[in-house]
């Protein structure tokens, strides 16, 4: 993107839009079918990250939500990933993936570190990369019909957008292992019991609850909140770096391309089941 581009308090793009109003930034994901995270979304998330320093002077909270009825996000765009990977081989393929992962890590780390209080309003599917995006947030508000999962191991990879270090930051290692090794999904009540979700909302009410929460945040001194956030939510940078290495190492194996091919070509009626 053009770094000289002017500050955007509002933006409407192909995959997402944001709007600043009353000290709250609302980031809406609206990319069909279920906010798959690929190059188009990363481009626009990078635009948001570029606008963050200015937004941070005018807002106290950022809400991330989805207008797709299927859910918050189904995760990485596996079809695009497979197509891009097919176009290269060997080291070039791994390096292409490393560049992609570095870009998404920059976005995730920027959201994670923002002095804004970040709130994910989650409904429906919140899988893989979508779950990783939600985990960058300070507070997760979940619709009672939301489901969270890390299905990556079925493709022969681990979550690559910062999922394991951020999950481990919030919950016990036994939970991390269970979610990774089985690929199973958790409902909102269970996710709250485990400490992942702060608040469970009624069906269709997550955004409203997130807005109420953001309004409460606005009452407090921003500087104090930012100091408290830095203290309470350290970013596990070394683990994130290590995750990228492991992810790229695993991605280089032929078995992963085969698993991606099967996923892309599958007519399986149950792609959301592990």
């Amino acid at each position: 993107m053009d770094e000289n581009e002017g500050f955007m308090s509002d933006f409407s793009g192909k995959t997402l839009s944001w709007k600043l109003s009353g000290g709250i930034v609302e980031l809406e994901l609206h990319y069909a079918p279920c906010n798959e995270i690929g190059l188009a979304m990363i481009d626009e998330l990078e635009r948001l990250v570029a606008a963050l320093p200015e937004l941070e002077t005018q807002a106290a909270a950022l809400i991330i939500h989805s207008s797709r009825k299927e859910g918050f996000s189904a995760g990485g765009d596996l079809r695009e990933l497979y197509r891009l990977a097919l176009a290269t081989e060997g080291n070039a393929r791994t390096e292409g993936m490393r560049t992609f992962v570095h870009r998404i890590h920059h976005v995730m780390n920027s959201l994670d570190a923002s002095p804004l209080v970040t709130i994910a309003a989650v409904h429906g599917i919140c899988f893989g990369g979508g779950f990783e995006l939600a985990l960058t947030c300070d507070i997760i508000v979940a619709d009672k019909m939301a489901r969270f999962a890390f299905p990556e191991l079925r493709l022969g990879i681990i979550p690559g957008f910062g999922g394991i270090p951020r999950l481990r930051r919030d919950v016990g290692n036994a939970v991390v292992r269970d979610l990774l090794f089985t690929g199973r999904s958790l409902n909102a009540a269970k996710a709250q019991a485990l400490g992942l979700v702060s608040q469970v909302a009624g069906e269709g009410e997550a955004l409203r609850v997130a807005r109420t929460t953001a309004s409460q945040v606005l009452k407090y001194d921003r500087h104090t909140t930012a100091v408290a956030k830095r203290f309470a939510k350290p970013i596990p940078l070394e683990e994130l770096r290590r995750e990228t290495e492991l992810f790229c190492e695993l991605f280089a194996r032929p078995a992963v391309m085969e698993a991606l091919r099967k996923f892309v070509e599958s007519t399986d009626a149950h792609p959301y089941l592990p």
Binding site: A146, P271, L273
Partner: protein, 80 residues
């Protein structure tokens, strides 16, 4: 403690209400994917609704390959 028949009946009630299908058209042996005309995403919705209703956790892999209401009830019954 619910019996298997009671659990099955409650599942049929929930499925009928959620997917707006007349209850009398649903039977325990029905393939719910076909009968309810649902895809995997909607199957997950059904799973969530059942977990919330029965207050149990039902891992996705336990229902993989299950397509009839009675077997689904059996899986839930094992966790009540």
């Amino acid at each position: 403690m619910r019996t298997l028949d009671q659990t099955t009946g409650e599942i049929l009630d929930l499925a009928a209400a959620h997917f707006k299908v007349p209850r009398e058209q649903l039977s325990p042996g029905d393939d719910f994917y076909r009968k309810l005309k649902i895809d995997s995403l909607q199957a997950l919705e059904l799973l969530t609704r059942l977990e919330n209703h029965f207050g149990v956790e039902l891992p996705d892999y336990e229902v993989q390959g299950v397509s009839d209401f009675r077997t689904l009830a059996d899986r839930i019954q094992a966790r009540l």
